[in-house]
């Protein structure tokens, strides 16, 4: 019979890959909804910049297996399964999104910001019509980095029963079966590559019309 892993585990790969994608898409979605407003906030309230970026930075340094473990005893958002996995992935994704939102907005040419203010734009108008559109490629680059990282870390979420491609990897490790490990690792890498290229293309598209 055919022993090639992609064929042997084909149907299972598809179910697990879908689970994997759901984990990533939901957490990146939540992280974006939290991270972009936070990034904007710290461009307006400079004294919040250090604490917010510092906190997101610390989250990033927690080893992923430890993060999943730490969430197990936590009520509501913790335990095992998909919910704590999404919480952990969201926390990991915050830093690149917050940081790039902040960098993107503060990187807007001061002369452009000033000419907007000088013509009587309110802070909200300046943010929505000038700063956000101009910062968008940088913000998207943050989302892109966060996504690629989350796709990798999501494989470890299988350790707390969240499903995903990590199932193959953990099973493969415990049974010393490299075909199983590959059945998890190769599709995960492929998804990361595709996501990277797709968001990269979107970034390029938003660059059009400006320099």
């Amino acid at each position: 019979m055919n022993e090639f892993f992609l064929i042997k585990y084909g149907p299972e790969i598809i179910t697990n890959a879908l689970d994997h994608l759901i984990l990533v898409v939901v957490s990146i979605g939540i992280a974006t909804l939290i991270g972009i407003p936070l990034g904007i906030l710290i461009t307006r309230q400079k004294n919040l910049r250090q604490p917010v970026l510092g906190f997101a930075n610390i989250l990033q340094t927690i080893p992923s297996l430890a993060m999943f473990g730490l969430l197990i005893p936590v009520p509501v958002i913790g335990g095992i399964g998909k919910v704590p996995a999404i919480v952990a992935l969201t926390l990991y994704s915050l830093l690149p999104i917050i940081r790039n939102t902040y960098t993107g907005i503060t990187g807007v040419n001061p002369a452009i910001r000033e000419s907007g203010r000088g013509m009587g734009m309110t802070d909200k108008e300046l943010l929505l019509q000038v700063e956000m559109p101009m910062a968008m490629p940088v913000i998207l680059a943050g989302v892109r980095v966060a996504t690629v990282i989350a796709i990798g870390i999501a494989t470890i979420a299988a350790a707390i029963g969240a499903g995903g491609l990590g199932i193959f990897i953990f099973r493969g490790i415990s049974t010393v079966n490299d075909q199983l490990i590959l059945a998890g690792a190769v599709p995960a890498a492929a998804i990361a590559l595709v996501a990277d290229l797709a968001i990269g293309a979107l970034e390029k598209k938003l660059q059009v019309g400006k320099r």
Binding site: A111, S115, G118, M119, G120, E125, M134, G209, K210, R211
Partner: protein, 249 residues
């Protein structure tokens, strides 16, 4: 009373201190309606600062700036700025907006309806000698430096503000294009009767544009008068500027 009606902006003993150092001090002068006042000075002489005090980008530490007889601190700053056109060097246009959106910016902020904005934009582009059908849909990076400055002027004129502030708008242009735009702008300013405050370090530009020249030196206004009067001024800074053109010839 009738005399006050002729004054667009009044500086009353204005000092601005930043970081413990005065950027401008004891400025007292009037800007008359319909005049083109050129603030001339070296880099760091306080001319741009003086200009930004008018549209409340800077707030006086002492004294007050009156716009239409009301102190800029009492104005709603958004309303005040929309009554004042603002043009700065090249970078002022929004790179992600088309020419049409750039020029229509203030009318759009003022919530004019879109057909009215469109008509106004086309009218303004024609006024600055740009063919609307050819330029309306371009982005700033698709224009030459001179064309960009024309768009900048059109944008500042969009909501028909009585006063325009211009901070070295033609500074980055080649000398031929610059003279062309200066002369055209002079004609436009006289035709429309706008009050213009123009900041430059270029003495030649001052002579082309000014109905009056204000010479700034070390945060002070050391001379204010017509170009003719400027030529005979005894102030050492005025002499130094005049020598620049004499030397060039």
């Amino acid at each position: 009373m009738s005399k006050d009606n002729q004054i667009a902006v009044k500086f009353r003993d204005v000092t601005l201190v930043r970081g413990g150092r005065p950027l401008v001090s004891n400025l007292s002068f009037d800007i008359r309606k319909g005049e083109a006042l050129v603030l001339l000075g070296r880099s760091g002489s306080g001319k741009t600062t003086t200009m930004k005090l008018i549209n409340h980008l800077f707030v006086p530490s002492e004294g007050e700036v009156l716009f239409d007889g009301v102190s800029t601190t009492e104005w709603n700053e958004i309303k005040l700025r929309r009554k004042i056109g603002y043009v700065i060097q090249e970078t002022g246009l929004f790179p992600h907006f088309t020419v049409e959106k750039n020029v229509g910016l203030v009318p759009a902020l003022e919530k004019w309806d879109s057909q009215k904005i469109r008509n106004r934009v086309f009218e303004l582009l024609q006024l600055v000698s740009l063919d609307p059908t050819q330029f309306a849909h371009r982005y700033p990076h698709e224009l030459s430096g001179g064309q960009r400055q024309r768009v900048g002027v059109a944008r500042a004129l969009a909501a028909d503000p009585p006063v325009m502030l211009m901070d070295e708008p033609f500074g980055a242009l080649d000398p031929i294009t610059r003279l062309e735009l200066q002369q055209e702008f002079r004609r436009l300013q006289e035709e429309l009767g706008k009050t213009v405050v123009f900041v430059t370090h270029d003495i030649q530009e001052a002579f082309v544009l000014a109905s009056r020249i204000g010479l700034m030196y070390d945060g002070q206004l050391v001379f204010l008068g017509t170009p003719e009067e400027f030529k005979t001024s005894e102030h050492p800074e005025a002499r130094a500027f005049l020598e620049c053109i004499e030397f060039a010839l």
